[in-house]
Symmetry: C2
Subunit: 419 residues, 2 copies
């Protein structure tokens, strides 16, 4: 029976079996396997680029947008970058086997809580070949098997990447079934992955808000929700102009297409006359379109009228919504209504306002006087980022390798029984 004759479920069961041995691999063997995977990806570069060309041709014929085609495109340099990223993951500390707690109880039974791999990590994502390699490498570094479901538009590319990675595992004496794709089963493969409770231990969707919502709604496998960022900056009554301008511009313009870019700026009425003019001008100079309420439009030129839809929109581009609020209470109420609980920041010279904002805003990362663009695994010093969790269970905020592990309690006794 060849691999391609296996059903999606067979593949997930094979990943589960492989997870048993991969979970027991030493730090060194996991690192060596990742270096072998990086080498194999580079060695297969021509094949991968050729497979990618087929996907691109199909995508162009099917009318994919230029932006999506660019995300999908691999050339030799991009393949080399994928391999380099895998080598970086190989050097990260092993997140498995950390001692998280120790207790001696009940007549001398020694309890140790240690980090262990989840087992099988699933990921559903859009047509970005880098995610295929990224998630597989992070899963393997943390001792997990992985089941991938990328976008159909990247099917040939993903197949070539997975084939290279599996061959590298086999050459290292590691069960290649630890890296699986269910791409070729289309929507049915995704559906089976979402229903594989008991086989797949955790599912990490990556992509649009709509994709994540679908996975959250349809999955019986536990999901770590990553994602959408309707990110706010509040300019408090005492906000220094220079910080306000620099931070808002940085948070919007430095990389507008990502989830930690700011989308809405809320300006305290007491600071509106002082701040709105210069902040809007600085944004417009960098090509940002500002959508504002009447109070904003009264204080700056070139403002498009903002609607309720603007407050709820993750523009992911050079648009920004701006509103004047009467006080911090109104700012907090706006954030409660529209935030996606990713990142919010207040710019203020008033410690009491800062500390109230930090305490009361219910988001993964809450900032005072810093750019929201800092919400990022690399910036936090994690070395790698699995995603940014916007949920409250298990992980919140940027997730590093430790967030791809669970724990178990080990109890070592000498015949103790409970009284």
């Amino acid at each position: 029976m060849t691999t391609t004759a296996l059903s999606a479920r067979d593949r997930m069961l094979a990943a589960q079996r492989a997870a048993r041995t991969i979970g027991l691999l030493s730090d060194d063997r996991k690192s060596a396997a990742l270096r072998a995977i990086a080498d194999a990806i580079e060695a297969a570069s021509a094949d991968i680029v050729a497979a990618n060309a087929e996907d691109l041709a199909r995508g162009e014929a099917g009318g994919l947008s230029a932006a999506l085609l660019d995300r999908l495109r691999l050339d030799e340099a991009r393949v080399a970058a994928l391999a380099a990223a895998v080598r970086d993951v190989a050097e990260l500390p092993d997140p498995v086997g950390r001692v998280l707690d120790r207790r001696t109880v009940a007549g001398g039974v020694e309890l140790t809580k240690v980090s262990v791999p989840f087992g099988v990590v699933g990921s559903i994502y859009e047509a970005r070949p880098n995610v295929t390699v990224d998630i597989a490498a992070l899963a393997l570094r943390s001792g997990n098997a992985v089941v991938l479901r990328g976008g159909t538009a990247a099917e040939k590319t993903n197949a070539a990447l997975v084939s290279a990675m599996r061959a590298a595992l086999a050459a290292e004496g590691i069960d290649p079934e630890g890296i699986q794709t269910v791409d070729e089963f289309g929507r049915e493969g995704a559906r089976e992955l979402m229903q594989a409770r008991g086989i797949v231990d955790v599912l990490v969707p990556r992509g649009s808000a709509q994709l994540i919502e679908t996975v959250v709604t349809e999955s019986s496998v536990p999901v770590i929700e990553t994602g959408a960022g309707v990110v706010h900056i509040v300019l408090d009554a005492s906000a220094p102009l220079e910080w306000s301008r620099d931070i808002v511009v940085n948070a919007k313009v430095q990389r507008p297409s990502v989830c930690n870019a700011v989308e809405t700026v809320l300006v305290h009425r007491a600071a509106a006359d002082r701040l709105i003019g210069p902040v809007v001008a600085a944004l417009q100079e960098r090509g940002v379109t500002v959508h504002g309420d009447a109070d904003v439009a009264a204080r700056a030129d070139g403002i498009l009228p903002a609607t309720d839809e603007d407050w709820a929109t993750e523009y992911l581009g050079l648009d920004l919504a701006m509103r004047v609020v009467d006080d911090l209470d109104e700012a907090l109420e706006h954030i409660r209504t529209y935030s996606t609980h990713h990142t919010e920041s207040i710019i203020t010279d008033d410690d009491a306002s800062a500390e109230r904002f930090l305490a009361e805003v219910d988001s993964a990362v809450v900032m005072a006087n810093a750019s929201t663009r800092f919400t990022d695994g690399a910036e936090f010093g994690f070395g790698a980022e699995v995603g940014i969790s916007t949920q409250k269970l298990h992980a919140r905020g940027p997730m590093g390798l430790p967030e791809l592990t669970s724990s178990k309690w080990l109890a070592r006794g000498a015949g103790q029984v409970r009284a």
Copy 2:
């Protein structure tokens, strides 16, 4: 508008609003509120017992079993015990505001990861009035609002308990909407609670395997699965007779109705002649019925034949399944097939076997030479137990108060932007 005119969804929204202020309460105010709740429950004891009598009468008329009626029954002494348990929770350390990580990054931005309440904790459980008080107290101690859905059979009792607890909150100047029940909405209330994603932050089902399965399957709110325990003990080739006998008897007999009681004993073939006779005799002396395979029946009297169904059964009573296995591999394979990933223990004199078992068994608690009855929040020194998680996300094994918290990152800067 009176409280009873609110829909289930209105109540959950009211709990969400209350969570904002409850989440900011100091350690002292939360403790004081719990002491006030304990006093209020005692003061309302006569009303609670009267309400309980109505539930009992309805249950008897409806044919509830004696065991269920006993679980449901409250008298003055049991009400006093509920109040005492709340006072114990009041004395536990506040799990909110713990510093979980600190980092200084990017030009001096100070990052602090702190524990925060989830917000709103939901619980769906069966007709056990003690759970009503227990979950409400644990949720409040950890700064959460709570939405309760107990069994319909306990509706009057729960209403009386919730009423007393809400009155105590109001008297303490705390928003009483922080404790809600949706019991009176029946199955529809449970359904709305399971679908309240975005309002309720986490759902903790407590009860039968079937109840938990329903909640896991139907809920879009993240669930912490607690529960079912098909718990194994392996008697290795080198298992000392005394430890084997004492631990198996303790794990089965000390309290057979709970999830950490052993259900299946796997005996290494090399130890079968030596151990099965005396271990079975010790169990039978205490009234245990042993269901065994042919290899067990050949070595002891009074063995009922075991079927595949026995291996999968959580007896929760004085029955136990026993099987002879050829070696540790076969024991591990049996456990992989039938375990509910709660607790397993090996009895052995061989360190290599013990360490292999500890490494390879994929359960919340894995033991060597100790009784499985130790898997318990109080035994682990947690002071209180929210439940025993058998899932891998967020919490695994006995859950204390810290497992009712999430975290958030606080970032304090001085104008830093990302380069």
